[in-house]
Amino acid sequence: MSEQETGGLVIQGPAALNFPPPSTGYARSAYGNVTPDFGPAPWVSVRPNGHVRVFAGKVEYGQGIRWGLAMAAAEELRVPLDVVEVVLGDTDRTPWDMGTFGSQSTRYTGVQVRKAAATARQALLVAASTTLDLPVEQLRCEGGAVTSASDPARTVSYAELVREHPGVRDLLEDVPVTPASDFAVMGHDTGRVDALDRVTGKAVYSQDVRRPGMLYAALLRPPSYGARLVSVDDTAASHMPGVVQVVQDGPVVGVLAESDEQAELGLSVLQAEWEERDDHISQWDLPAALAEHPHDPVTIQDDGDPERGLQRAAHTLEATYYIPYVSTVPMEPRAAVAEWDGDHLTVWAGTQRPFGIRGELAADLGIDESQIHVIAPELGGGFGAKSIYRPAFEAARLARTAGRPVRVAYSRQEEMAWTTFRPAALITIRSGFASDGALLAWDFNAIHTTTDRPMIGQRGSESPYTAPDRKVVVSSGPAPLRPGSYRSLGGAVNHFAREVHMDEIAQALSMDPVELRLKNLEDRRYRRVLETAAESFGWEPHTPGSGRGHGVALGWDVGSYAAECVEVRVRGKEVSVDRVSSAIDCGLVYNPEGIRNQMEGSIVMGLGTALYEGAEFEGGRLLNGSFARYRVPRINNVPDMDVAIVGDDNEPPTGAGEPGIVPIAPAIANAVYDVTGTRLRELPLQRHL
């Protein structure tokens, strides 16, 4: 239940937007039984000082949602950006929200905030009409005041209006919002609203939360996945300097101390006996295990009869692709602080799902959701993975026993070993095609290590290429590492196989890969992103002997279309990606600078998965769970990038945070083939060159 925003003019409206999302039932399959609160809840308020406050249950992890929502409110209320405050991810203050993932913030929350702010504008106009004794038609909102269109002297500020006419109004679903052609803030490049705190060190992340009397925890971790704790001897640990208590609460064992270092030292002398499992699948065995044990196949696309199509086609190809597990590696390792006040619990946790975590905490601790307040501070990166947030539970249990606030902050090694991974996948594609490049048959069979979260592997598996006979089946398989969300979920994984395979067809026919794709694409929006990227890149067919390889790929994610062309050089086992031209169509554009930022970030992240990244594991132990052994892109690995935004204003806004990652790995693999003549079907490329 949201706290009532008091004073000023408050616009309330339905919460739990787009729940559950149509078509997929994604929320339920992803996150179990969440209990949505459909509202009404406050979305926008005009404060007695004339400033504007926006409320949303989303969280900020770098994608710029605070910026985007502030722009939407500033646009509709005709106020400068710096008087808009955005309150995010707080279960006592903001509308209920399923979670910040799937690039839904602009699509749903942004639209709701626009409507709420436009409702407020309309209410202010009506109020001003009384105050100024002028009809609404002769008034306009401007710079935080309502003013007569003909006589600028007749004006009244929002501050005065809301002091005279405070109250709560319902959001009007059919309120006219500002058309894109009249945008003064949205659609324009503005300075990011929360940037100043980030360059001065003032922004508070979960790792930075400190409470009076807070204890620092160091947690006992098993030596391998699935190990069972047999016994603990805390005699030595509890006598270490600064150690206050060693707490064992169910599966959570933590050394609590007055400082972080004292807790770590205490942990180092904690004696524990474990019973380890002996049935672990290692990285070497995983591809075979997937091939042998797929389960729960789901048919995603089913047109015609691929077997018949393959028999009729003049040419056929069959190839198998393997994409390993990758670590998410947000810069901020997860952390949480829990504080009990009687039977009321407050948790600061940088999770992408503050409301979901509240429900799970209630279940875990056996208390009611109304006794729990979850606050999400700034998130130092999340990329989907911080939907699952263990430290909130660990801190809550430890604090309950300790009777003092407790901070659980993961080390880098804990963040890598004890959170989640993007699932690995084994994908086999059989295709049939005519000599002119027309695709006739497509049989796509993917097995992702997704266990209970099959939708991760299904994302992006459907083929955009027309063919009379198509079948796409996605199964789950054994998962030695815990699967979790990642940028585009398994979308980038499925795209890798499909887009490399398209390149192999072009290669088999000696056709230009751009031309081959265009030949098989009907959707105008796919064609346009591909043509745009190719044009900005200056696409040309292979030039032997140049020492440079060109590669192309395209894709679709969260409602948006993207294409990328890349140029690489290969020296020994080191691939250097020199430039990337990209195009995105995400419909109506709210924040072009935000979109460019997200596209660049997606390209850099995907470059890591293409060239370097892959989790290594054996015997239930992660072998490369530190930066010493897990390489991610650095500044000197980053290509020059250009981003073309090509959407139409009459298309609804769709996601921009994820589409950029789906074409990049196959585009790089295709470029590596172009320059080396070696076709790599397994990532990361540098491990296989």
Binding site: A195, P330, G381
Partner: protein, 152 residues
């Protein structure tokens, strides 16, 4: 005991062996300096000691005794942003922002030594800092334009 100046203020740390990053963050409350890996491999904890970038996570307070430590909180001068901070704002050279204090401190240290760094020098100096949001190109542009601002 180790005595040092942090952002111009004199401090006495009781234990020479105290990790410098923990001391700054939890004892002094200067949480703008971040923990990223504890191995000196991501640069999120970079501070300046006597003007030179140092990975605080691998240092002790004893090792900087007598020194002048500057953290991100102390970089602005009388409320006026350091040219590197201003340039990061101008280029929107950040997303989640967690790595940004480390980048800014490393870049400030670079500009102290090299007034007009080339792109290659910027890349070399910042290669030990990690940004997972991938804002590297903007960071590079920001540092080069900060050099221009600083030399105006």
């Amino acid at each position: 005991m180790a005595t040092m100046h942090v952002n111009g203020e004199r401090h006495e740390a009781p234990d020479n062996r105290r990790n410098l990053l923990s001391y700054l963050r939890y004892d002094l409350g200067l949480t703008g300096t971040k923990y990223g890996c504890g191995e000196g491999l991501c640069g999120a904890c970079t501070v300046l000691v006597d003007g030179q970038p140092l990975k605080a996570c691998l240092s002790t307070v004893g090792s900087v005794a007598g020194g002048q430590v500057t953290t991100i909180e102390g970089l602005a001068n009388d409320g006026e942003l350091h040219p590197v901070q201003q340039a990061f704002l101008d280029e929107t050279a950040l997303q989640c922002g967690y790595c940004i204090p480390g980048f800014i401190m490393t870049a400030a240290g670079l500009l102290d030594r090299v007034s007009h760094p080339t792109r290659e020098q910027v890349r070399e100096a910042l290669a030990e800092n990690m940004c997972r949001c991938g804002t590297y190109l903007r960071i590079e542009r920001a540092v080069i334009s900060a050099a221009e601002i600083a030399n105006e």
